[in-house]
């Protein structure tokens, strides 16, 4: 039973890590390798606002999400626009920016046990004989709310429609006057905001370290690759496969094997079905 519950929580955490990454990729084809860095950066922004400016967590958390979104938006206009359309250059730029953010935070001393965000509510409950704290329940709830909220946003607003158009066919989108750069920047801002929201609910579960940024990036990549890039269903399936896989590995083989699971999953999927479980292999015409 505890396997079931903790596997579920772990899976939702992975989905939260990935949702922003795959949103940005799905809309604008931009693999944002700074995703993990933005995630942990938002945590430190929130921490700084609380401890330096003395704001309550609720306020600083929301501010941190907005600030991270703004950073994502600016990131697009300042750096990515120059290399837009060259996938390898985009990858290098985002990865380099991510490393720069993370190493800058390490240099500034953002590691150690000092840094943590408070949980929303203290305490916990017992479900079917398994003790579980409220924060983990909040993680579950926010995962659900986020997925539903995103679905509603994408399906019922004008920007959402433009997102979908852009994701389905950039060329046609351009010809009806969709500003691809504006949408690209927005998609990165949204991805960054989602990373920050994930950080606000997941980070209180432990201490904050700048190196978490690397872990989040690897998890997001693993989930996206296993599930298939650009596929929401794939993202959820990938989260659950790796999420439960990790908990099972920890239980039956040993806790240190947890980190192997996402990496092994990447290798396995790439060698068996490179497009991922729900991914579509692009037709020849689209690849040339």
């Amino acid at each position: 039973m505890s396997l079931l519950i903790y596997g579920l929580i772990n899976s939702v955490i992975l989905a939260l890590y990935t949702v922003g990454f795959s949103l940005t990729y799905g809309i604008s084809g931009l693999a944002n390798f700074a995703h993990g860095a933005l995630y942990i950066l938002s945590g430190f922004v929130a921490w700084s606002l609380m401890n330096a400016a003395g704001l309550p967590f609720a306020v600083s958390g929301i501010l941190a999400v907005l600030i991270t979104a703004a950073i994502g938006f600016a990131f697009y206009w300042v750096l990515i626009l120059r290399v837009r359309g060259i996938p390898l250059a985009e990858l290098i730029v985002t990865f380099a920016a991510g490393v720069a953010i993370l190493e800058l935070m390490t240099w500034k001393g953002f590691y150690g046990l000092r840094y943590s965000l408070p949980v929303f509510v203290n305490g916990g409950v017992e479900i079917a004989g398994v003790g579980i704290d409220y924060q983990r329940l909040i993680v579950l709830a926010s995962g659900l709310v986020l997925v539903i909220g995103l679905w509603l946003f994408v399906h019922h607003t004008r920007i959402g429609l433009a997102f979908r158009a852009m994701a389905q066919n950039e060329r046609t989108a351009l010809s009806i006057g969709i500003e691809s750069d504006w949408i690209g920047a927005l998609s990165l801002a949204f991805g960054a905001a989602l990373a920050a929201i994930a950080a606000m609910v997941v980070l209180p579960l432990g201490v904050m370290e700048s190196t978490i940024g690397y872990d989040v990036l690897i998890y997001a990549l693993a989930v996206a690759i296993v599930g298939g890039l650009e596929s929401t269903l794939g993202m959820i399936a990938g989260s659950f496969l790796i999420g439960y896989g990790q908990i099972a590995a920890a239980r039956y083989i040993g806790a240190k094997w947890m980190v192997i699971v996402p990496l092994a999953a990447i290798v396995f999927v790439l060698s068996v079905k490179p497009s991922g479980i729900f991914g579509k292999f692009k037709e020849l015409e689209e690849r040339v």
Partner: protein, 260 residues
């Protein structure tokens, strides 16, 4: 009608190389408002590149394009679309996972259409369905509400036309609209295009089906190997030796048929 000092639309010495390949070479032409220009030429003569240059999908190597007196060379495709130059694609790619009418909502909600007609997102469904109705997709049929990916291939070209028209353009560029259409579809689409033109829309139409094209256009321009080799009314153009040569591939005189 008042004469404006600038031509409505003007292309000056347009040129595009792809590496060593000269796709469009020194092409110049002008359009009056409301004119219907046909562009013909053998495969690979630079017709689609010309469309891509005008609509900003490809940047010219040199040359200038003016629309209403303003230079639009090198502007982004969405800017040019926003100025009122809409196009259809030879290879249609619509938004396959959206219902047909939703494909039109995006252009209908563009800042251009908002400026011209107002209206907000959420109020445009009827307008989209009206437009589809005009194109021959009846509102009572289920076509407007189906995902584009599930529609028969023959519908997509007309849907692409509807998408371009939803932008309420000043100039419509049709890139081989009729290729892949059945005879009956061509027969039902041609009057629509003529109607748009009668209502004042300026049209540039690239087409291989010369018979249909010559029925509707005011003027024809012929391209061959990226160069303009002739321009004039359909009759004038088809009299030119160079055009005959380009179309037949070899320099032959068609012998007069002997009386039996």
């Amino acid at each position: 009608m008042e004469r404006s000092p600038h031509p409505f639309f003007k292309v000056e010495h347009l040129r595009k190389n792809f590496g060593g390949v000269l796709a469009v070479y020194n092409v110049s032409f002008e359009l009056r408002q409301g004119e219907f220009l046909g562009v013909i030429g053998p495969n690979g003569s630079g017709k689609t590149t010309l469309v891509n240059l005008i609509t900003g999908f490809v940047k010219p190597t040199s040359g200038k394009i003016f629309f209403k007196g303003k230079k639009i060379t090198g502007k982004k495709p969405y800017t040019i679309a926003g100025l009122g130059i809409a196009r259809t694609f030879q290879m249609v790619r619509l938004f396959y996972n959206l219902p047909a009418y939703k494909n039109l909502i995006i252009p209908l909600c563009s800042s251009r259409v908002k400026r011209l007609r107002g209206g907000r997102y959420g109020e445009k469904d009827d307008e989209a369905i009206d437009l589809l109705d005009d194109m021959g997709f009846e509102r009572d049929s289920r076509v407007p509400y189906k995902d584009v990916g599930s529609l028969p291939h023959g519908y997509l070209k007309r849907l692409d036309l509807a998408r371009a028209m939803a932008l309420r353009p000043d100039i419509l560029i049709l890139d081989e609209l009729f290729s892949g259409m059945s005879m009956s579809e061509v027969a039902s689409t041609l009057p629509l295009i003529e109607k748009f033109n009668r209502e004042g829309l300026t049209i540039i139409m690239i087409e291989h089906r010369l018979k249909e094209l010559f029925r509707v256009v005011d003027r024809v321009m012929v391209l061959n190997f990226g160069e303009k080799i002739a321009e004039g009314t359909p009759d004038e153009v088809m009299q030119e030796d160079e055009v005959k040569k380009a179309y037949l591939g070899i320099d032959v005189e068609i012998p007069p048929r002997e009386a039996v």
